[in-house]
């Protein structure tokens, strides 16, 4: 459903993600753990393009969300001037040069171009058109994608100027996905489910952290999302409020919601996730089903990490 293809993310000179790929199927619950600064939040935020990856592509249900990345399309690179110049040079070096011939792109040259990132300069019309073709064929508007993939933040981010009910209905009504009545009905239903219906006319500042986070979760549910991204949903909560939020997330998981959770709650990840990833230093270092992941960790960095947090 969500497909992350070899993404890199640089903040100025700092390389936060160094080539991460991930395929998430419908109904999967993926937990991402790792030390702080390992890039796990950035990785999650790339999935709905709150951060734009520097390189790489994000796909949602076969539609491209990011600009097309030439390095993932060798046939596009083959149309670039750099590639053709290098082909030419190679052809000249060989006695019977086959430069200019239509054939499979030369993987060695592609690798070299990629390694030295030689595609920064002007690369000619054909190259640009090929890249544009890919985008035209597959590109999806990021706002449409975000309507289908909800996000829950560490700091809740409820709209402070709106009441609880307005928080829930603003997006579906503004985006004309639901009428005011439909959205209100759906929101009331969800608020009753989490037992906070009587708070519907309160402003967020009057709520506790646990209440805010549960409302933030149902705010994204009003949109009927196909997947939910959780960015450390319990890290900013008082310990006694962690339980109620995890309980709600667990219920959603049991109902079959596709979810990606960045978390420090190891027990929760073990229980709820169908797959656990360990990120460190901008890379996925280990990926496994929860029993093996926590039972027999392979990577030394993960062993060290687990021994510290468990």
């Amino acid at each position: 459903m969500i497909s992350v293809r070899n993404i890199y993310k640089n903040f100025g000179g700092l390389e936060v993600l160094k080539g991460v790929s991930l395929e998430i199927e419908k109904g999967e619950k993926v937990a991402i753990i790792g030390p702080s600064g390992s890039g796990k939040s950035t990785f999650l935020r790339c999935m709905n393009l709150l951060e734009e990856p520097t390189y790489g592509e994000i796909w949602l249900d076969g539609r491209l969300l990011t600009p097309a990345d030439p390095y993932l399309h060798p046939e596009v690179i083959a149309a670039s001037k750099t590639y053709q110049d290098m082909m030419m040079k190679k052809g000249e070096a060989l006695p019977d040069g086959n430069a200019g011939k239509e054939s499979e792109p030369d993987s060695e040259i592609i690798r070299k171009i990629k390694k030295d990132d030689l595609l920064k300069k002007h690369e000619g019309k054909v190259y640009k058109e090929r890249l544009k073709d890919i985008e035209q064929e597959n590109r999806m508007d990021v706002n449409l994608a975000r309507q289908r993939v909800g996000m829950v933040f560490q700091h809740f981010n409820l709209f402070n100027n709106l009441t609880v009910m307005q928080n829930l209905t603003l997006a579906p009504v503004t985006l004309k996905l639901q009428t005011e009545e439909e959205a209100t009905e759906k929101a009331s239903e969800l608020l009753k489910r989490i037992g906070l219906y009587e708070k519907k006319d309160e402003y967020p500042s009057k709520l506790s952290g646990g209440q805010k986070q549960r409302i933030a979760i149902v705010r994204s549910l009003v949109m009927n999302p196909e997947a939910l991204l959780f960015d450390e949903p319990t890290s900013a909560l008082d310990p006694e409020m962690v339980g109620e939020v995890l309980e709600l997330i667990r219920e959603l998981a049991e109902e079959g919601m596709t979810m990606v959770i960045v978390t420090h709650e190891m027990g929760f990840a073990r229980e709820v996730a169908t797959r656990v990833l360990f990120m460190d230093d901008g890379l996925i270092k280990e990926e496994n089903a929860p029993e093996e992941f926590f039972g027999k960790p392979q990577h030394p960095r993960l062993q060290e990490f687990l021994s510290k947090v468990l």
């Binding site: 009441t163 997006a171 985006l175 009057k206 949109m223």
Partner: protein
């Protein structure tokens, strides 16, 4: 100065004010002052908000960069020249050049509004930056676009944060209107000046003028306080 001469001056003022029709001048001057200040503030808030939204937006694409450049020049001009110069330029240079005729009150409103826009844009910008970045992210993450999130989430919170400063802007606009007489608008200052020049007695007219300005500002301050209280409904305080 003897008490008697002060009483004489006061009687002369009352005579000019009541019997020679001075009060009509004052009323129309007061109305002009208030209209110019209020409409200019509304204009300034609209212009300032648009400029601020452009300035804080992530600048992607040539179009946004050009807009941003235009805003920079605009703010530089209106903050970099005295408002009297702007009024004179507008009324005696720009209007004749484009061959358009407008009443001096309308010109005053437009120029004061444009001028205020430059200042409000800075106020608004700091207001927008004071709103937590998470609010924008939450809006965007639900599929709302930049403009809608700005309009429905960020700007309402920004305005609440900067309301005291916007109040200051209104107050200084009311006071600054005293320069519009340069292009022939009868405002509060001009009205009292006219009363004074009818009998060459300026002491009382200007004294009364000062009192009226103070009372006016006190009323505005009170109204702003009430408004602020209303907007604090979503606050802890």
């Amino acid at each position: 100065m003897t008490v008697q001469s002060i009483i004489n001056k006061w009687n002369l003022f009352i005579d000019a004010f009541m019997n020679k029709g001075g009060y009509k001048e004052v009323v129309s001057g007061l109305v002009n002052t208030l209209i110019i200040a209020l409409v200019a503030l509304v204009l300034g808030i609209i212009i300032g908000t648009i400029i601020a939204a452009i300035e804080v937006s992530p600048k992607k694409g040539r179009f946004m960069r050009v807009l941003d450049r235009i805003c920079t020049v605009y703010v530089a001009f209106f903050r970099g020249t005295p408002i009297v110069v702007q009024l004179l330029l507008g009324y005696f240079v720009i209007l004749p050049l484009i061959g358009f005729s407008l009443s001096s009150v309308v010109v005053a409103i437009i120029i004061m509004g444009l001028n205020s826009g430059a200042y409000v844009s800075e106020i608004m910008r700091s207001g927008i930056l004071s709103v937590d970045i998470g609010q924008m992210e939450a809006g965007r993450a639900m599929g709302l676009n930049y403009g809608t999130t700005m309009r429905k989430i960020i700007i309402p919170q920004a305005v609440k944060n900067i309301l005291p400063t916007l109040g200051n802007e209104l107050i200084s606009l009311v006071k600054e209107t005293s320069v519009v007489s340069f292009i022939g608008v009868v405002d509060l200052y001009k009205a009292f000046r006219t009363i004074g020049s009818s009998n060459y007695e300026y002491m009382m007219p200007f004294l009364v003028m000062a009192v009226i300005y103070i009372v006016l500002i006190m009323i505005i301050t009170f109204a702003l306080k009430m408004m602020e209280r209303g907007l604090r409904a979503s606050d802890k305080r």
